[in-house]
């Protein structure tokens, strides 16, 4: 899932300093699961803002609403009749949700309340571990299911580098060397030959805006039918 972290309160206070009537929109999907931007977190942030602004004798009216998913137009529609009552809208969704809100309501300033940090797995309550950087060229098949882009500090495809140190990465003894782990797993599976094959460097497909159309879902242009 996508994980995110609440922005520092000071940064939020600064973004909102000129506004007196704001709508906070939470998202009920990934950011709710990772405890950053669901209904509960909307309540907590709004309560904090209300108190802080009252204490500064500059009250703010801040309402909250949490929709099912902010990265889906279908769910944004319920905000259409509401947003114009506010001077600004803030979003607790990931960067995709924030952009979708801003795009749907271009007449109104939209601000992000969380920092989106990546694709991660839940390891224990409140603890998330990044596992994929959506490189668009997945190599897990040759690396025994361990992602070198995410887990290796250098993101290299032909590791380990010279810094590998008895199972640890050179950046930190607490950080396991991804390529050491890959070696061990491939060895266990009798697939060490995978590591001997040289792999072309990553094409950095994640460096330009990408769109994805799943096979079978391409819209046919009526003009092409003639």
């Amino acid at each position: 899932m996508i994980v995110a972290q609440r922005k520092p309160f000071e940064e939020i206070m600064n973004m909102l300093k000129g506004y007196k009537k704001v709508l906070n929109v939470g998202c009920g999907t990934c950011v709710a699961v990772c405890l950053a931007g669901g209904e509960k977190e909307v309540t907590v942030l709004n309560t904090e803002l209300d108190m802080a602004r009252k204490l500064k004798d500059n009250p703010i009216k801040i309402d909250g609403i949490t929709i099912e998913r902010q990265c889906d137009r279908e769910y944004l529609a319920e905000l259409d009749s509401k947003v114009d009552d506010y001077e600004a809208v803030v979003s607790m969704a990931c960067g995709v949700g924030v952009q979708f809100l801003a795009e749907r309501f271009p007449q109104i300033p939209v601000y992000p309340m969380v920092d989106t940090s990546g694709l991660a797995a839940n390891q224990a309550v409140g603890w998330y571990e990044e596992r994929c950087r959506s490189c668009n060229q997945c190599v897990l098949g040759m690396t025994g299911g361990i992602c070198p882009v995410t887990m290796c500090a250098k993101g290299i495809y032909n590791g380990p580098c010279g810094g590998t140190n008895n199972g640890s990465c050179e950046i930190d003894t607490e950080q396991p060397c991804a390529w050491f782990m890959i070696y061990e797993r491939l060895e266990r599976q009798g697939r060490l030959d995978n590591i001997l094959e040289l792999h072309a460097p990553v094409e950095w497909l994640d460096q330009t805006p990408r769109t994805l159309v799943q096979p079978g879902y391409k819209k046919v242009d009526p003009e092409d039918l003639v």
Binding site: F9, K40, T47, E48, M51, A52, K54, L55, K56
Partner: protein, 116 residues
Amino acid sequence: MRLEYPSNVKIVRVPCTGKVDVSHLLRAMQQGADGAYCVGCLEGTCHYNEGNLRCRERVEHVRNLLEEVGLEGDRVRMYNLSSGEGPTFAAYAKEMTEHIKELGANPLSQKQKAAA
């Protein structure tokens, strides 16, 4: 056992302190409570294993949030005792009341009164 504890303390019962959420404590303060505290079982004796430890974490978090907001974090505290310790419960209520009296009233409730 008939025990006296300060009458200004309002008790909200929860099945386990693990049920107490950050938003509950924050909202109590938002609505003008001068202080709030959680009384959980002794650490290591939680029936649900870690309810009271989770509560401790949340209390700690709320204390930080209050400081960010501009209130004293120490208006919110966590206490632990075993269920047989009535007198300790009363002693904690007294300790907390005295501590809050030292800090004074919640500035938010004063502002609300001034606005009314």
